[in-house]
């Protein structure tokens, strides 16, 4: 399955967060790791799309008072999602292999 750059970022952020991946933490993880402030709508559209593709699964958590009694929607990466993101990353690695760019040699 072909994944876009932002889709890969979202999947990797969810993988890093393990059991605590929901809207707020995913945005914060992406901002911390990549320095990119992403729009909430863009994130949720991507999450929906990844779920439709079968790369993500979601479940509703318990309502919390700090969220005005609203539940969190937790995301987990499926086996297909892991395969897709590793395939995409491997393709990048293959393309970088042997290229002496930015002073580093990607072997």
């Amino acid at each position: 399955m072909l994944l876009g750059e932002f889709e890969q970022i979202v999947l990797l952020a969810i993988l890093r967060l393990r059991d605590d991946a929901y809207g707020v933490t995913i945005r914060s993880e992406i901002a911390t790791r990549t320095g990119r402030e992403i729009a909430r709508g863009a994130l949720h559209t991507t999450l929906d799309r990844l779920e439709e593709k079968g790369c993500l699964a979601s479940r509703m958590g318990d309502p919390t008072p700090q969220r005005g009694g609203r539940a969190k929607r937790y995301y987990t990466v499926t086996a297909l999602g892991i395969k897709s993101v590793t395939d995409a990353q491997r393709a990048f690695q293959n393309l970088l292999e042997g290229l002496p760019i930015l002073g580093a040699n990607y072997a």
């Binding site: 809207g23 707020v24 949720h44 559209t45 799309r49 309502p63 969220r67 609203r70 539940a71 969190k72």
Partner: protein, 185 residues
């Protein structure tokens, strides 16, 4: 938290109720339930809905436009020949069906036939049914401008307002049908 409740209601127009609940919850947790943030989120979901099923939405829109055109043509035919009565009686029937009845039926049908992307279909169709008559009226006026002493702003303004009301009726009908559906689920 009335702001979060309004945000949830607004987001429910563009996504499923549980997703809208989660997004509104995220906004509350971050303490950022602002109108700009809400509009940006709604716009992203709206665009995502169109990108997710462009052909289905296009078919729905074309179907809607076809139904509208057929109704206008039928009304124009009835008006041209006014076989069954005076032209004034038929003008009222034309105005009522094309600007009140058809948008209400269309809103209802669009929600029934576009699961998960219902309000996106309604919104794009509402924009279309508002834009088409306005553009058509202006073009017709411009084409016959030589025979007119001035630009008839009143005609353009009344077209703009009446079709805006028709578009709002379509949206309201869509929201009402969606609410009924969600109540059943």
């Amino acid at each position: 938290m009335p702001k979060a409740v309004a945000a949830e209601w607004f987001l429910r127009l563009f996504t499923t109720p549980d997703r809208a609940l989660a997004i509104a919850g995220d906004m509350s947790e971050e303490g950022r339930v602002s109108i700009t943030d809400l509009i940006r989120t709604g716009a992203s979901l709206f665009a995502g809905n169109i990108a997710g099923a462009p052909f289905r939405l296009l078919l729905l829109l074309l179907g809607g436009v076809a139904v509208n055109l057929i109704c206008w043509d039928l009304a124009t035919f009835a008006l041209s020949y006014h076989t069954f009565g005076s032209v004034w009686n038929w003008s009222i029937v034309y105005a009522v069906t094309s600007r009140i009845v058809i948008p209400i039926i269309m809103g209802d049908l669009l929600v029934r036939f576009s699961t998960h992307r219902d309000m996106t279909a309604c919104a794009t169709h509402a924009i279309l049914i508002w834009l088409l008559p306005v553009v058509w009226t202006v073009m017709r006026i411009l084409a016959t401008m030589n025979a007119r002493p001035y630009f008839p702003w009143l005609v353009v303004l009344s077209t703009l307002v009446t079709w805006l009301i028709a578009a709002c009726l379509l949206l309201a009908s869509g929201i009402r049908t969606r609410k009924r559906f969600l109540a059943v689920i």
